[in-house]
Subunit: 267 residues, 2 copies
DNA sequence: CAGTGGTCTAGACCACACT
DNA sequence: GTGTGGTCTAGACCACTGC
């Protein structure tokens, strides 16, 4: 039972543009079937056919729907699971990944206490210093793929662990995607900020890039973190992306590293 | 053709202790066949049956040798490839990963120039400041799983990019595993330090953990990096591990981050 | 018990590299 | 052409979950 490079038409398929006809590349752009299936599942994730935390259809259902074997669907889901877009649970099903779950609470926060396990200090105290609308400066616009002058939400907050202010963060968000976000809602929400973004604004952060530097405390940051002027701080600039690799958040964090450190694994 | 949980005996099998008989855990410690195969391949990697850069036997050969299907071997190798222990090359074979290859030259160095691509500044200039035998202090001994007072090699070097000293590193190695390592050999060797460790000492670094902090330049480090006393530096403490999760290197690096930054991807 | 993901097999064919 | 890894299929059975 041979099959061409593009998969069968499928009623609930959205894009339809998959397969070998894309672009004018000299290479025939051969794409394995399971990659095409992965693309279709990704489409459904993007348009919200299944919400974060929900189960996606079983492998057999998807196999029937896409007219491929279960093994091919499995391989597609394998890759999505490896990218943390879905979570497999034996005997139960495959679920859309979410930032709301307890055991992956701080998936994107790599600052851990020098002694003790992450989270052993209890929940972080979050103080919203500022939350206002502003015009995107040129560098903020570039990072968020906006035009200079577009409206952005600018948030400043301090995270404290065990009563000690440890992280100062400035966050920029495209205002168009976060209508109605206020300091109150940020302060009152229980759980990770990215979980709030999921439930309230249908924005799912999936991947992020960080640039780290050592910088002296200054420009008022020393007061908010209660350190001496000039104290070295770990500067962490993050750009977070949604499913479609669209940048949706710029974050500049300043971490105190006298009692905590940024942990990273290389392999 | 059913099969018990443990795999067949195999002539060149080393450990032999795999399978369901390990320990007294209440859980029968079920281990999929492909995991057991992975363990056997790992054994062969550890004992050096195949050297870095060499091809391992084809999937079919391994399937015959271990008396399992090719698909099972494939899944075992899939995981080893995901952990960067081997590299697959279509049409050619599967090769033991090495630090000597050009395109993965700086797999463990996450410091990149602010503008331009990694390595665009040309090769780093390495100046060995010091290379001597010493007694392990208590914290060095703890990091390397040695006894306090055991002999270690202590190396201090400066890496410069485009003539600018950028990284100062102190490196500690268990002397027992690096007999004959001198400043000359370090200075004269072309290529990554971990490649030297592979070819000369049969030590392959496979994984590492890093702890990052912001610290003021001091204790003579400011002179070697040609920065003002107190300038914030990015402190990077690394413990590198070999195949068997044995710590084999402690490295304390101090990075200037005025023209470079530490890059990290979260997913 | 049925339904889900997880493992294992056997066989076919495709894409790629070398000769 | 031969040999390698890569894809795809179909079917069987195992392990876990929840009814």
């Amino acid at each position: 039972m041979r099959r061409p490079l593009s998969i069968h038409s499928e009623t609930s398929s959205v894009g339809g543009g998959m397969g070998a006809t894309e672009g004018l590349a000299q290479t025939p752009a051969f794409s394995p079937l399971y990659q095409q299936i992965k693309g279709l599942i990704l489409q459904s994730l993007r348009v919200g056919e299944w919400k974060p935390g929900e189960a996606i259809p079983s492998e057999m259902e998807l196999a029937v729907r896409f007219r491929v074997s279960q093994g091919t669907v499995r391989k597609a889901i394998d890759e999505l699971a490896a990218e943390n877009l879905v979570v497999r649970r034996q005997g139960k099903g495959t679920f859309v990944a979410t930032h709301s779950e307890q055991h992956v609470q701080f998936r994107f926060l790599k600052l851990v206490p020098d002694s003790g396990t992450p989270g052993s200090e209890g929940p972080a105290q979050r103080d919203i210093i500022e939350c206002r609308r502003a015009r995107a400066s040129s560098d903020v616009a570039r990072a968020l793929a906006l035009r200079s002058g577009d409206t952005v939400l600018q948030i400043r907050r301090v995270l404290s662990f065990g009563g000690t202010p440890t992280i100062l963060e400035d966050i920029w968000l495209p205002a168009a995607s976060f209508k109605g976000l206020t300091a109150e809602r940020l302060a009152n929400f229980q759980g990770p900020t990215y979980a709030l973004f999921e439930t309230e604004f249908n924005v799912r952060m999936v991947r992020a890039e960080e640039k780290l530097r050592a910088e002296p405390a200054g420009e008022g940051r020393e007061k908010l973190l209660k350190v001496e002027h000039g104290t070295p701080l770990l500067s962490v600039e993050r750009i977070a992306y949604t499913y479609k690799d669209v940048p949706m958040e710029l974050r500049r964090g300043y971490y105190r590293t006298d009692t905590h450190h940024y942990h990273n694994t290389l392999s």
